[in-house]
């Protein structure tokens, strides 16, 4: 049951991240699909991929985006 | 001598890394880079043919010590023939491709070392890295490994553009990476569909499974996978709709880097095209798609080239347009046409590299790339102008040079395959290619010199001229003795048809 919930969170998170006007919020919201996907990988019997995805998808990639936003501008023009 | 096969990929990567460790010792760096660059074309000549298994895991059938301990239901099944390791296959066709790639890489690196002030920067590192990636694409028999190196080649090419310091190069690299961000996952999706249908990523195993009835060949998954892999192939080689970005990429690179990048495009096209043909030869639609995209590439590339006013862009579009000949050779799918297409690929890589270097000398002399503002350069360096017109003749297919031989073979094979229209298209587009080249040549060298044109540097680095002469000499040799190259492709075609 929880798998379906996670899938819905992934899609909603992706859409939410793309409709934000605040780029920093968008950057943080990319972590939501990333982290949920790590959970989903755990359910799909791939624990090693889940570990990598948990680090890369929920920490490193949002930090990349947040740094890019910090170095440029916060609001979309 | 099997380990030499892995060395072809590892050596340039190691050298690229080492170059930056030796920062500030410019002389040592130059010597090291040149030595490795000279070794690059030599390794394929001395390496012996065969398959290299990374990690040393051959198929169980070739490894009796493991086979002893396995139960009989495994040793009697097809599993024993499957390849557990990442496999590189090195054969006569791969040898000539890597040899030509090594020659072009050597000349590009040799030229760049004389022109670029700081030899230890990222620039030569990226050139070595991309060379290694394309070599791996040519060698790999493993479709996922191919995808990995495909991505590395894309990033390194974008990096080469970034470090060229030409106006607009950052934007062009970003466009290239964006389009790659769409196209490369699609290639991976195609790989994933194949993996899901067959359960393996080794290309030889996939073909074995498809041909021997282990997998239903009529599964529509294969068609979709073919479409996705063809899409990635278009990105890697720069056929439409990626021809604008690829020609832009050539025009934003330094001349020697452009001559190297076009060789990457040519060999990516050949390597991936052969893999597509090996996997999906039995689906006629796939070959039709290859032919249609190749014709579109030729027609759009060459007709766009003739309308350009910037010679860097002109030669970029011309290079993209000429790729279509290779695609038509592969798409026709007969023994003769594939031989001709592969031969055309070899010639194409050589002569386009020469043209890029030659047009680079004009940039070096004047710093202007609009052909309207140039003219009358013949009197400054008539020797270079002579080399240039020779290269133009070769590209358009004037006998007795190599491109004439391969285009003739292509036209013959198109007629004997029952497509005289293709032969007419190819002849027509060769003529337009020649006209395009002559238009640029006339405006740059022969037209009266416009007022206000100042020639900054009368001297042209002798390394550029040396490189051009080497490339033209190889072209002439291949033109007189085409069987030097054409006899090498038998192994790859034999496994194909």
């Amino acid at each position: 049951m929880i798998e379906y919930l996670i899938m819905i969170i992934i899609i909603l998170g992706a859409i939410l991240a793309l409709v934000q006007r605040d780029l920093l919020k968008a950057a943080i919201l990319t972590g939501v699909p990333g982290a949920s996907m790590a959970f989903l990988y755990q359910f799909l019997l791939a624990p090693d991929v889940a570990l990598t995805q948990a680090i890369v998808g929920s920490a490193i990639i949002p930090v990349f985006f947040a740094l890019a936003v910090y170095k440029t501008r916060r609001m979309e023009e | 001598m099997k380990s030499l096969i892995a060395l072809m990929v590892i050596l340039p990567i190691l050298c690229g890394l080492l170059l930056n460790l030796l920062h500030k010792k410019d002389r040592t760096i130059k010597i090291l880079a040149l030595t490795v660059a000279i070794i690059l074309p030599i390794i394929p000549l001395i390496a012996s043919y065969g398959a290299y298994y990374f990690g040393g895991y051959p198929p169980i059938a070739e490894n009796p010590t493991i086979a002893e301990y396995l139960p009989a239901y495994i040793t009697r099944s097809y599993l024993v023939k499957f390849h557990p390791a990442i496999t590189y296959i090195f054969n006569s066709a791969q040898r000539i491709f890597i040899f030509i790639l090594g020659i072009v890489a050597f000349l590009a690196i040799f030229t760049s070392l004389n022109e670029v002030k700081k030899p230890s920067g990222v620039y030569s590192f990226l050139m070595f890295m991309a060379t290694a990636a394309v070599t791996a694409i040519v060698l790999a028999d493993d479709i996922f490994n191919l995808y990995v190196f495909f991505e590395i080649a894309a990033i390194s090419q974008a990096g080469i553009i970034l470090s060229s310091n030409i106006k607009g190069s950052y934007k062009m690299a970003l466009r290239y990476l964006f389009l790659g961000g769409v196209a490369a996952p699609m290639l991976l999706l195609g790989v994933a569909l194949l993996l899901g249908a067959i359960g393996n990523v080794n290309i030889s195993d996939m073909i074995f499974a498809m041909r021997n009835g282990l997998i239903d060949q009529g599964n529509p998954i294969f068609l979709t996978a073919a479409g996705l892999i063809i899409f990635g192939w278009l990105y890697g080689s720069g056929l439409p709709p990626f021809h604008t970005i690829k020609s832009g990429l050539y025009s934003k690179a330094l001349p020697h880097a452009a001559s190297l990048i076009q060789a990457f495009s040519v060999f990516t096209l050949v390597a991936l095209g052969i893999i597509i043909l090996r996997l999906f030869y039995y689906i006629p639609v796939v070959r039709w798609a290859i032919i249609i995209f190749s014709i579109a590439g030729m027609a759009l590339g060459i007709s766009m080239a003739i309308m350009q006013t910037d010679f860097k862009r002109l030669i970029g579009f011309l290079a993209v347009g000429e790729l279509g000949y290779i695609g038509i050779g592969l798409g026709l799918g007969t023994t003769m046409s594939i031989t001709a297409g592969l031969f055309q690929a070899v010639n194409e890589a050589l002569v386009t590299a020469c043209l890029f270097l030659g047009f680079g000398t004009i940039l070096y002399q004047t710093g202007i790339s609009e052909i309207d503002k140039l003219g009358g350069l013949l009197k400054y360096r008539p020797g270079v102008a002579g080399l240039m017109i020779l290269a133009g003749f070769i590209m358009a297919g004037i006998p007795p040079f190599n491109v004439f031989q391969s285009k003739l073979m292509l036209i013959e094979s198109a007629i004997s395959a029952g497509f005289p229209e293709l032969a007419i298209i190819m002849i027509l587009l060769s003529i337009v290619t020649f006209m395009t080249f002559m238009k640029a040549y006339y405006s740059i060298y022969l037209k009266p010199e416009p007022r206000g044109l100042e020639v900054k540097a009368e001297r042209i680095p002798s390394s550029t001229i040396f490189s051009m002469i080497i490339l033209l000499v190889i072209c002439t040799i291949l033109g007189i003795l085409p069987q030097l190259a054409t006899s090498q492709f038998g192994s790859i075609i034999h496994g194909l048809l």
Binding site: M7, I11, L18, L23, L45, R73 | G181, G199, V201
Partner: protein, 118 residues
């Protein structure tokens, strides 16, 4: 209720579609890169779902399992090995793109994709 594997395939397809639509329609460059990351995430999810076995076990061989039982029930690890590489490649490409975007911002003062138009 549709099986987990099918639902997961649909999620992957939805992510890829969202990504492609985003790359095409969104003006802001950083959000374009976010959309690109969703495309590669979708493909990774597709690959992982391929290896999933409904009702199976994790592909770790424990003492006490019979090898034939393990072979029939374990998930297929080859796609997982590919995904590991693919995740890392995706992240590195992303970093390069963001670096270029930062430089372009400092030159043109804008994050709109209009700076890529000429």
């Amino acid at each position: 209720m549709i099986p987990v594997q099918l639902a997961s395939f649909f999620t992957a397809a939805a992510l890829i579609l969202i990504g492609i639509i985003g790359v095409f329609f969104i003006d802001n460059l950083i959000k374009k890169v976010i959309a690109l990351s969703f495309i590669s995430d979708g493909v990774n999810l597709f690959l992982v779902t391929l290896g999933y076995k409904p009702g199976g076990i994790v592909y770790i061989y424990m003492p006490g399992m019979s090898s034939s039982w393990f072979a029939q029930n374990a998930s297929y690890p080859l796609p997982f090995a590919l995904v590991l590489t693919s995740i890392v490649i995706g992240a590195s490409t992303l970093a390069v793109m963001l670096a270029i975007i930062i430089i372009l911002y400092h030159r043109h003062g804008s994050l709109s994709s209009k700076i890529l138009e000429d």
